[in-house]
Amino acid sequence: MSRSLRAILRRISSGTLESQEHQLSGSRENEEFVEDDDEALSRSDTSVDSPAVLYDMIHSPSYQVPVLYITFKDEAAGKRMPSVDEAYELLVPDAYRSQIEATGVVGALSMTDHPISSTPAYFVHPCQTAEAMEAVVGGRKTTPEEYLLMWLGMIGASVGLDVPVELAEAMSGPV
């Protein structure tokens, strides 16, 4: 996915949403999913002081779908990441809890190394994503933005990532 889209998501989750119109125009040039983007990571990592949940959407070369990575940052908690159970408590609305645990449409929450920082992060397991997205998209042709909005609605909502109205409007509006 385009690097600018990922940078937007990181800033939103760390509470520093800025006007993003100039960023979005960049996404048109790059319709293909770009795998990694080191610039986005080093820029936002150093600016987060208060406890934060950082969401990254990173294209998986193995599964060929976007994957949602979740990093917890809390200086007060020292170096400990929340356990899987604690992560569920913190992120998942009760309504979705049994669904995500039954690994139906949305994969389970697992720990791994973040593909770029190589530090521990949670991720929503993508093995069902392709099939689930096919069901949602049907045979329609979608733009990357439309695909991602649907993907966010499906995967993101289950781990507390709602799409802010401003972002949804910016993504669907004419560019």
Partner: protein, 323 residues
């Protein structure tokens, strides 16, 4: 030219039997007698995982621990200050961090034409063995290492996720691994824990040759030390500060090229990392290292995948820069 299957089986057994002697010392800050505790000596298999050593390490060091009530799963290992990741097999960690020069059969053959029977035993004696590691029982680096638990659940999950991913890469779906019986998947993990080749193969063969599936891609992960990745991109300053940072590169690698020729390690590396592997045949800037040996770029990826993969189904290839 594809290798005959008997030689592949032979090679697979040799790799399975590979091991690395370790000399593990207790961190002075965790030790009642500061730096005077005896080291723990062990020689685990290259393909295995360091976490399996934790119960014995804990039992061995317990008399010297400042806090003997600490749990085995709170322990962690480091090499020269770098915490060692649990889900990296020992052989990969050694290839990446030990500083040992990989065995290069081509180079040996060129330097001594009479040595056509070059073996690992005759390799240059620059390997730092035993590999000296430090065991810690406090200040777990949770920002760098995955948290373990008493039941070994985190380790199992990590392993199974890798096996699923490898399966997905091979076939384009994870149906084969998801349809393994409970007995089979239990046996697979058991084979990893007790390190039994026959038990392992009995399940793994179902993953390598699923009926009705055509293998499409070879599971491959490439590890670039920071110095290599800096030549590839100058913006990774944040990562360079973190000692021992490795950049992991993955890309879908088809078994065949569009021309229907078999994919070799060289064609794969050239397409994934062209700035580091500009030639498909000759390692000009860097060498690929697997199980301590420089792999010829002409090796067929399909053969490599079947013979030289680690227990999770992946080829974990370390890139060593030349010069």
């Amino acid at each position: 030219m594809p290798a005959p299957s008997s030689r592949l089986t032979d090679l697979q057994r040799k790799i399975w039997n590979g091991s690395i002697p370790l000399e593990i010392r207790l961190a002075a800050s965790d030790c009642r007698t500061y730096d005077e505790s005896e080291p723990y000596l062990v020689q685990p298999p290259r393909l295995s995982y360091l976490a399996f050593l934790l119960p014995q390490l804990h039992a061995f060091f317990k008399p010297s621990l400042i806090d003997p009530e600490v749990h085995p799963h709170e322990a962690w290992l480091s090499f020269e200050g770098v915490p060692l990741k649990w889900h990296y097999p020992l052989g990969l960690l050694y290839d990446l961090f030990s500083g040992a020069e990989p065995v290069d059969f081509d180079k040996q053959r060129n330097e001594d034409p009479a040595a056509s029977q070059a073996t690992v035993e005759t390799a240059s004696g620059t390997a730092p063995l035993p590999w000296r590691l430090t065991a810690h029982f406090t200040e777990y680096p949770g920002d760098q290492l995955i948290q373990l638990d008493a039941d070994g659940r985190a380790l199992l999950d990590s392993y199974i996720n890798a096996v699923k991913e490898a399966d997905f890469i091979r076939n384009g779906n994870a149906r084969t691994v998801m349809s393994l019986s409970k007995g089979d998947s239990d046996n697979l993990w058991r084979a990893v824990q007790i390190y039994d080749l026959n038990l392992f193969k009995s399940v793994n063969s179902k993953l390598l040759d699923p009926p009705g599936m055509e293998l499409r891609h070879v599971p491959l992960k490439i590890y670039l030390p920071t110095s290599a990745s800096q030549t590839a991109s100058d913006t990774i300053t944040e990562e360079a500060k973190q000692a021992g940072h490795i950049r992991v590169v993955q890309s879908l690698v088809p078994i065949h090229l569009p021309s229907r020729q078999p994919q070799t390690l060289g064609t794969a590396l050239n397409s994934i990392l062209p700035s580091i592997f500009p030639s498909r045949r000759n390692p000009l800037l860097a060498q690929p290292v697997l199980h301590g040996v420089v792999v010829p770029l002409g090796a067929h990826l399909n053969d490599l995948g079947r013979t030289a993969s680690y227990l999770d189904g992946f080829l974990h290839v370390a890139v060593v820069m030349l010069g």
